[in-house]
């Protein structure tokens, strides 16, 4: 058993209002530089829709993630040998037009235009070529809130899969928001795709990072990631990606996207997992078993054996404590209401989603009678087709989605009964039985999902550098680089002690 800690996130989609505050703050912190204008480490997509980049879920085109071939796990785009043979050109990589060509406007013209009969206009200028563009044809969230409607929605690979179920009539349309960041997977295919070995997973917290010194710009990570969350900086010619705001999380602060989330949909916590079981879990034959297989790699932070072993392997006490009060552990592993995005990619993603319940249900004629057990059939007739959610979050297994939605519905019914009363107790118990839950669990859930404060939503242990590093050596070594010995360089007389 090789125990590792992972910082993970849950997003409660029911609460996402699609305001893009997360994207904007993330952009302002990380990607407002030349070469990165088109990059959004965090983006919020309206689904159904093509997403960002367009059709990122189309694995036939981008060939991201892993597949099982002859009972073994392989990169879908091809292994190391075929990558080296194709290193002169990456056939599966997205082009800038799949994201969008970033542009600004000629604002100066508004100031400097001579007096004319007509008002001056600010024409769009490409931020790639610096030349005027006649008209931008795609941009960030071009398809926000189903804009483009029946022309754009069919570009969604999930919709194409379920064509017969999805109606485009106005009365039957549905939509939801899907905020996305890097999944910081347990079995990251971007890392395995990198010829230079520049991408790596951090031992301490599982954050996947790109070593800018080692990256040689071969670009296989871009489409190797099935979520398309590694980007090419055309200015530095290197890959960059979401870094889970590690300078913040190391200090015990939530990522900037979580910190600024208006709907407070995001939760961050630590989970412990067995790194030795990751490959096995990613290699189960049936994609529908991947969700359960992924759950099986996580370890119970209350198990004394796990605690003892974790301490032995160098995971310190504050991390184990955080794992015990981790909101992610509760939602994803204990209550099982948070699901991984596209588990069929076999990367074991670590950003989990609570599927949305909100949109009004179809075909409910008598709302008065919809008290408790009425929810059982109603869950099957929700506005967002269960097949669609299953295609996103459960490798097409609608049973998983149904179980979660039922539990969420049961929570609402139970809490309504508790605060305003008036429901038939017997019927509620029937609903609870069907949802396989208890009033205590539902109350815990309601607490975390609805009222939890900052400290409950974000349980992040600090990087605890004082535990692992030779601070005596570091003293006075960092701020004036090039003059003082750089951090980590062993220089006489600052010899590091042996047993670090």
């Amino acid at each position: 058993m090789k125990i590792k800690a992972q910082v993970a996130m849950v997003m409660h989609l029911d609460k996402c209002i699609g305001c893009h505050t997360c994207s904007v703050t993330c952009k302002n912190v990380w990607t407002n530089r030349p070469g990165m204008e088109y990059v959004w480490y965090n983006n919020v997509e309206t689904r159904p829709g093509p997403g960002y980049p367009k059709e990122w879920e189309n694995t036939d085109r981008y060939k991201g993630g892993w597949v099982m071939r002859n009972g073994k796990l392989h990169l879908r785009a091809g292994g190391p040998i075929s990558k080296l043979a194709n290193i002169f050109y990456n056939p599966n990589m997205a082009e800038m037009d799949d994201f969008y060509e970033p542009w600004t406007y000629d604002f100066q013209h508004l100031h400097q235009s001579p007096k004319k009969e007509h008002l001056p206009v600010a024409r769009p200028i490409s931020m790639i070529t610096g030349k005027y563009i006649d008209k931008p044809e795609w941009g960030p969230n071009w398809d926000d809130d189903l804009a483009g409607g029946s022309e754009i929605v069919p570009m969604d690979p999930n919709v194409q899969k379920l064509q017969e179920h999805i109606a485009m009539e106005y009365e039957k349309t549905f939509m939801m928001y899907l905020p996305r960041i890097c999944e910081h997977c347990l079995n990251p295919s971007c890392v395995a795709s990198c010829p230079s070995g520049a991408l790596y997973k951090r031992d301490e917290d599982g954050i996947v990072l790109v070593d800018q010194d080692a990256c040689r710009g071969w670009r296989f990570c871009m489409n190797g990631c099935p979520y398309h969350k590694v980007y090419y900086n055309w200015n530095t010619h290197k890959a960059e990606k979401c870094n889970f705001c590690y300078p913040r999380t190391e200090a015990g602060l939530p990522t900037i996207c979580s910190e600024t989330c208006v709907g407070r949909i995001r939760y961050i916590g630590v989970v412990l997992y067995d790194a030795d079981r990751v490959k096995e879990a990613a290699s189960v034959e049936d994609p529908k078993d991947l969700y359960e297989a992924q759950l099986s790699v996580f370890l119970d932070p209350f198990d004394p054996e796990v605690i003892e072993e974790a301490q032995k392997q160098g995971i310190n006490h504050s991390w184990i404590e955080s794992a015990q009060s981790s909101p992610v552990y509760k939602m994803a592993m204990k209550w099982k209401i948070a699901l991984p995005l596209h588990p069929e990619y076999r990367t074991l993603p670590m950003v989990w989603y609570v599927p949305p319940l909100s949109p009004i249900m179809n075909h409910i004629t008598n709302e008065q009678e919809l008290t408790a057990d009425g929810y059982i059939p109603a869950v099957d007739q929700m506005r967002i087709p269960m097949e669609y959610l299953a295609s996103l979050l459960a490798a097409d297994d609608t049973d998983v989605i149904r179980r979660v939605l039922l539990k969420m519905a049961a929570m609402r019914v139970h809490m309504r009964e508790k605060t305003v009363g008036g429901a038939d107790k017997l019927k509620i118990s029937k609903l609870l039985e069907e949802a396989k839950t208890t009033p205590e669990e539902l109350e815990d859930m309601a607490r975390l999902l609805a009222v939890a404060k900052y400290n409950e939503r974000f349980v992040i242990p600090t990087g605890r550098r004082e535990m692992v590093e030779d601070l005596h050596y570091k003293q006075g070594a960092c701020s004036i680089e090039e003059l003082a010995p750089a951090e980590g360089m062993v220089t006489y007389p600052f010899e590091r002690s042996e047993n670090q």
Binding site: P91, V191, P195, G197, D203, Q212
Partner: protein, 229 residues
């Protein structure tokens, strides 16, 4: 003069620039050991140009190893006669040369004709492609036309021994005096190109990730780069 400068001093100057420059770049400019890719801006023409060029230049490199580095005695010992060797060299080298020239033409045309790519093309890119194009065009001409119409020149008796003698620091520069002028230009420009490698994107040839197939697919690193526990 020609013997002293072009066939004795010049190769060493170029070699020294290549070696010192490459080390300098690896040590002090270690973040730039790549070929700046513009694939994100344009894919279709890159596929045609880049793939054909790179495979062509790999074949051409193997061909030069066979013709220049491997002594003629090896072929004689293996029983490969001159006629047979030249047939192989003209056929194989001709194909490789045409691939290189075609690829380079496509690549430079692509750089000039797509505005997004053109903006991100530097002088070094044009210089490298232009110089390579001249060298490759000369080489292809010598292989396909010169050696079939004028004379099937036996460079394994002159250029080959001279090139190998550079590495033993006993340059047999007198061998180079009588070779056809086209070959002389090809050789001089090639050395000039070698000297330019550390200053252009050509440095990426030393970044080939040969270790990739043997390394573990998943990479873990500790936060402290030096702490390997």
């Amino acid at each position: 003069m020609e013997q002293i400068f072009w066939w004795t001093i010049f190769p060493y100057i170029c070699g020294a620039i290549l070696i010192v420059g490459a080390f300098y770049r690896f040590i002090f400019r270690g973040k730039s050991l790549y070929a700046p890719s513009t694939e994100i801006f344009e894919k279709k023409w890159l596929r045609m140009g880049s793939v054909i060029f790179h495979y062509g230049i790999i074949f051409a490199f193997i061909g030069h190893v066979m013709g220049v580095l491997i002594p003629i005695g090896v072929y004689e010992a293996l029983g490969i006669n001159e006629h047979f060797y030249h047939f192989g060299a003209i056929a194989g080298g001709g194909v490789a040369g045409l691939m290189v020239v075609f690829g380079l033409v496509v690549m430079i045309a692509r750089k000039l004709s797509f505005p997004k790519v053109r903006v991100h093309t530097t002088f070094a890119d044009y210089f490298t492609i232009g110089l390579l194009l001249i060298i490759a065009a000369l080489g292809t001409y010598m292989t396909l036309i010169f050696s079939t119409t004028v004379v099937a020149y036996e460079y394994r008796l002159t250029i080959g021994p001279w090139f190998r003698s550079i590495f033993t620091f006993q340059p047999l520069s007198n061998l180079m005096l009588g070779i056809p002028p086209l070959f002389k230009v090809h050789v001089v420009l090639s050395f000039f190109f070698f000297a330019s490698i550390p200053f252009t994107q050509m440095i990426h040839m030393f970044s080939f990730p040969a270790r990739y197939p043997t390394r573990a697919p998943q990479q873990y690193r500790s936060r402290n780069g030096y702490d390997k526990s």
